[in-house]
Symmetry: C2
Subunit: 460 residues, 2 copies
């Protein structure tokens, strides 16, 4: 039954229609090399690779001098480098909830001012009434897998296998939380998880999933455990990077991405697969040399300064995204779900607010797909970006600092001043006013919901 | 006579010998496509492109989010990106003197604690007893040209045409100094120079020189006037960059580099030409939005923090330097002269100290060519790098700040901590001691010389 639905909807040429605005000639060029015979017609595959606590400046192609990332650099050279792509939140749980639901965490109850993320003693998780990318893509016959860190609820009802994923292999929350089990679907297979070999094992699972799913459209959500601390690299990488252990870990992650792209090429799936690489939030600066670098950006994890939420992002789809594309358009993890929906022909429900847009016109034509970005820390709206302008109502340097309220707010022109150094509020009162009004209007769209991060774990 | 010397020394295959360590097979592969018939045999061409006040973080391939540098990015992708390449000094005149002589400015009298650079009221310049790259290459029959900013003395006896260059076209010192004439050889052809079209005119001169010199080995020293302030871009670029005027200027410079590489390809000279791109010092941060960005590095122009002296550097030589090379080896503008000498078969004089080494083994084989770097501000040794370790005796944040002496000195591990955040001196007393001894030994090699920057202009 599901299989028949899939065949009915997945007519070839669908890609041409959903890759919005893509020139007919280029769409055909992309499709032809792998054009399937009737009955094998497919929707595009989608792979989202999500690093944990990686900084904007931690890849070679984003300017790091000593971390060697040849695979990610090549991925960027063959595809698009996105230099103004944001996570939806500067910490883990809300950021992941936003990616998978396409909705700001303030709408789903997946953020909190008191508990920043879910913990092993949390009883909450992503509410059942929210719909994940995987759940949407299942309706179109996708094979789906989640590999890596989940962090959207560790109780059985919240696990990936209950949220649209056919399979799961990974850890249920951050790797510094105890106990840290390794789950295979819903079963604990290792306690504590042996972290030094996690990247290798995650990679093997990803490749196995790709190979076994190659004749179906598939969705792979590969949420890396690293470079979140504690840092672990396998013996092939440990002690090898000039950047020390942090570099070892990122270089192994780079290797892992390379294996995935290589496998796609081998299986001749490259031209029918969108691969996106990004991170959940900025670098955890208080970890000093075990934390990453935000490059030229200010602040890091936990902060709504750029360093906390702007992520090193790459999109790759040979034949569809032109090699060497530089995408400076404003975009976000909130746009991933609408992109997947557009590519798979999913019609999104109209009973809820979505906070993103289909990315493809930005990737293939350099078109603007969104003009506004909201920067939340927990439940508080700290800043709003409109076009190149970002207005900070409140700032907080990092993870443990106190908030500083700004009245008048601080205004930065990010295209010109990505490091947020020169406050231009006084010179641009109209811009300040416009963004203040945007913020007020936005707040009215937010309805109270149950806070999932504050639900305690009930004793059995 | 000169012509005969040139033919005698420039036997083909010389390249194979001087490109140190290059595998025989690769050297041949590089040579074959353009292998000349007898009588046309040539030494490799060399082009050095030197930006002015460009920051480490100002190119796309070095991590800038909104400055678009597709030509330099492609140059890096086709060649080598050097991420630990230093100018010899954090300000203009000494930096240029070091590049062209291969010697620290403290040895040539081209630095001063009282006058940082040469000014229109200066009477000094690069001493006649120093030998420039151009002068060495002339002995091997090279055609030589200097295009752009000179800043090594504006009196006739100091001009490029007296220092080994067959021709000169450019401004004699910084573009913020008055009067700022445009010289053609030694003649003022415009006063003041019309700066908005300088980059276009410089580019035309470079291309003309390459075309007219294509049958000889040639050396082009293209020292850009920008992005030193005041910023000017031609109408094709002005108002186009998201990064504002600074971005316009860098994007025009990128275009200019692209024109040069395109011309080399057209003339089938690419495989016999080494092109190097770098900058004279870090970004002039006090110029705020009209200054550049050092990316993740600390400090800028005028400072011996990394941001003052580590430069965005690219080396390009199709067929010799492997595409996509990441060169993290320690290297410097001081290495350019020894590289040119090695490539052209010039034997350097032994009556003076040279402070660099041939770069080619670093570019073609990833070999270490130097282990130590001295960081001078004016006549003072502020810091020393040995391997990954940098010891600061004195620091000074920028151009106008006061010096801070450190006793004990500050120690940073730059491979691990490029942003110089975490002082490790206390944990590594042996490293501190070793570098202190290096500094003391180095100081003994420095002999007193006439300070050229403090010589006043005599009235006629």
């Amino acid at each position: 039954m599901r299989r028949r639905d899939f065949l009915k909807t997945a007519v070839w040429g669908g890609i041409g229609a959903v890759v919005a605005g893509l020139g007919r000639r280029r769409a055909l060029a992309a499709a032809e090399p792998t054009k399937p015979t009737a009955g094998q017609q497919k929707l595009p595959n989608i792979i989202v690779i999500f690093a944990d606590d990686m900084g904007y400046g931690d890849l070679g192609c984003f300017g790091h001098p000593t971390i060697r990332t040849p695979n990610l650099d090549r991925m960027a050279a063959e595809g698009a480098k996105l230099t103004q792509f944001y996570s939806a939140c500067p910490v883990c749980t809300p950021s992941r909830a936003a990616l998978l639901t396409g909705r700001l965490p303030i709408r789903t109850g997946m953020c909190s001012d008191r508990r920043r993320v879910l913990f092993p003693n949390s009883g909450g998780g992503l509410p059942a009434k929210e719909t994940t990318i995987a759940e949407f893509l299942k309706t179109k016959g996708y094979a789906t897998a989640c590999v890596g860190k989940w962090h959207l609820g560790h109780l059985p009802q919240f696990l990936p296998t209950r949220r649209g994923f056919d399979s799961y292999y990974g850890i249920p929350y951050s790797n510094d939380m105890r106990p840290c089990p390794l789950l295979d679907d819903e079963k604990t297979v290792e306690l504590p998880a042996k972290q030094a070999t996690l990247t290798k094992r995650y990679t093997a699972r990803c490749l196995k999933f790709i190979r076994t799913s190659k004749d179906r459209p598939f969705f792979l959500y590969y949420a890396q455990t690293f470079p979140h601390i504690p840092l672990f690299a396998s013996k092939d990488f440990k002690g090898k990077s000039p950047r020390g252990l942090y570099g070892d870990v990122v270089e192994e992650l780079d290797w892992s991405v390379g294996e995935i792209l290589k496998t796609l090429r081998e299986l001749k799936l490259a031209e029918r697969t969108l691969v996106m690489f990004t991170s959940d939030n900025g670098p955890w600066l208080i970890m000093r040399l075990n934390g990453g670098s935000a490059g030229l950006l200010r602040g890091g994890k936990g902060s709504t300064w750029e360093g906390g939420m702007r992520e090193p992002t790459i999109a790759w789809w040979p034949g569809v995204i032109r090699p060497g594309t530089l995408c400076t358009q404003l975009a976000s993890t909130l746009d991933v779900l609408p992109t997947c929906a557009a590519l798979a022909g999913v019609k999104l429900p109209t009973d809820r607010t979505y906070d993103g847009a289909n990315l493809m016109p930005a990737l293939t034509e350099g078109k603007s797909i969104r003009d506004v970005m909201y920067f939340y820390r927990g439940e508080q709206l700290y800043a709003v970006r409109k076009g190149p302008w970002k207005l900070h109502f409140t700032t907080q340097a990092g993870y443990r600092d106190k908030p500083h309220k700004h009245d008048p707010p601080l205004l930065f022109h990010l295209d010109n001043d990505p490091s947020e150094q020169f406050d231009l509020a006084k010179k641009n009162p109209a811009v300040v006013e416009e963004i203040k009004n945007l913020a007020a209007a936005h707040k009215k769209t937010v309805k109270p919901v149950v806070n999932q991060l504050e639900i305690p774990l009930r004793k059995k």
